[in-house]
Amino acid sequence: MENGDVGPVGLAASLVLVAVALAISVRLALRLERELVVAVVRALVQLLIVGAALAIIIDPDTPLLWSWLWVAGIVVFAAATNRRRAPAVPGLFWIALAANAATAVSGFAVAFGLGIFPVEGRTLVPIAGMLIGNAMKSGIVVAERLVEALSDGRAEVEARLALGQPWTAASRPIVRSALRVALSPLIENTKALGIVFLPGAMTGLILAGVEPLDAVLVQLALMYLILGGAATTTAVTALGTVRRLFTDDHRLVALPRSTRDVG
């Protein structure tokens, strides 16, 4: 291996640890062998396809339009994933689409508008992937948490509604708590950067032979973008979701797991 290039032999060698995972699964009867093999093969095929496509995209002769189309695909696919993970929220696909689009627009405005990165195929797609991939996780957490908290806290929400509070006020404590739950892990991760773990982009750059300090600067810029993107996505998702869970006449809709008494 030279300058971080991993050949077929190196890749095969990295599978030794997968073999260890398989051995653990067999020894402890976890029955995860099939899942493990599927995950490893899927990752291999998906990333090889992505790598081949990226090679075309970042070619200076390829029109930038293809990169933008790829970014649009990421935004739509992430929204579909949100929808699949939190099916109890009516219309979540469109909420998540708006949230991801807002994140992409604001993230790109900072990343490219302020000249942090150049607008090129090799920056557009990876930055969009990191930005929206991370924001998507927070978006899913906030949507799931909101449904769960409003269902469990129906008595408190209805007690507030019964006092004549509008749905915005009646749901505020729960929305705040869900936003904190969704954003806390990312904030904690950001705090632990460099102490507990070395993040992926930086590690990848260093392995590929980039100067560590340069790699750190790229990673920091990305982390701040990711943090801002996750905050944007969670806020838009939370506000969109909670709006869908109340009717125009300030009633909380029926939710799964609701334990309301009916006399």
Partner: protein, 226 residues
């Protein structure tokens, strides 16, 4: 009783899907005054009926009227401040009892808070108490005080004593009759026949989402007036 004179009237009201009706074509009117007890076995639609009155729930069919006006035509927030409710289990919000009162009336000061607590049978010293540390009976009375803070013209009480001991339940019953004596009609849901006999001026008995019997307590229960 004419519909215009009714506190609440239910005109062919159904709630729920055709296969799982919680109320099924209900036609009844509750009188505008006194204490009306709504009783019936579990699942008969008592709580659903009460929740229709302040629009925490809406009918799938039919019309609910409050003093002659379709509740669907009313501003729900205004209606809920006018038609207050005390739930089965007391739900206090984080903070002190005074903080709780301010959720209903943001301008509530200590003097007004003290008055509200007094009407709910609690000492003024409770204003500074953490609402999360009250006993069941105290919490239910704090919830009654909070409901009174919106200056309601009607009080709905959904089995408010079912989680309380006998003494605390007795206090709440006396507070409800006091409200009635002060001119605020009360609609009280219960599954206890003894409580119904003690409290009711009027009775509505429900069974499987329909009216079983309805009328003055004396007629329905075979008693004299309360």
């Amino acid at each position: 009783m004419s519909e215009a004179a009714a506190l609440f009237s239910f005109d062919s009201v159904s709630v729920g899907s055709a296969r799982a009706r919680r109320l099924d074509g209900l036609d009844v009117a509750l009188p505008d005054g006194g204490l009306t007890v709504v009783a019936g076995p579990s699942g008969s639609g008592k709580s659903t009926l009460l929740r229709l009155c302040n629009r925490l729930e809406v009918p799938s069919e039919g019309v609910v009227r409050h003093r002659g006006i379709d509740v669907a035509q009313r501003d729900p927030l205004e209606l809920r401040r006018e038609v207050a409710i005390v739930f089965q289990r007391p739900v206090t919000f984080p903070g002190t009892v005074l903080d709780n009162l301010r959720e209903a009336d943001a301008d509530c000061d200590e003097a007004r808070g003290g008055e509200l607590l007094e009407r709910a049978g609690l000492d003024v010293s409770f204003l500074r108490r953490d609402a999360g540390e009250l006993s069941g009976g105290e919490a239910q009375r704090a919830c009654l005080a909070r409901a009174l803070a919106t200056e309601p013209r009607v009080m709905l009480m959904d089995e408010p004593t079912s989680a309380l001991d006998v003494r605390a339940a007795g206090v709440l019953e006396r507070l409800a009759t006091q409200l009635v004596d002060d001119g605020t009609p009360v609609v009280w849901v219960t599954h206890s026949e003894e409580q119904m006999r003690r409290l009711a001026d009027h009775v509505l008995l429900l069974h499987a989402g329909r009216v079983d019997r309805s009328g003055p307590a004396g007629e329905v229960l075979g008693l004299g007036e309360r």
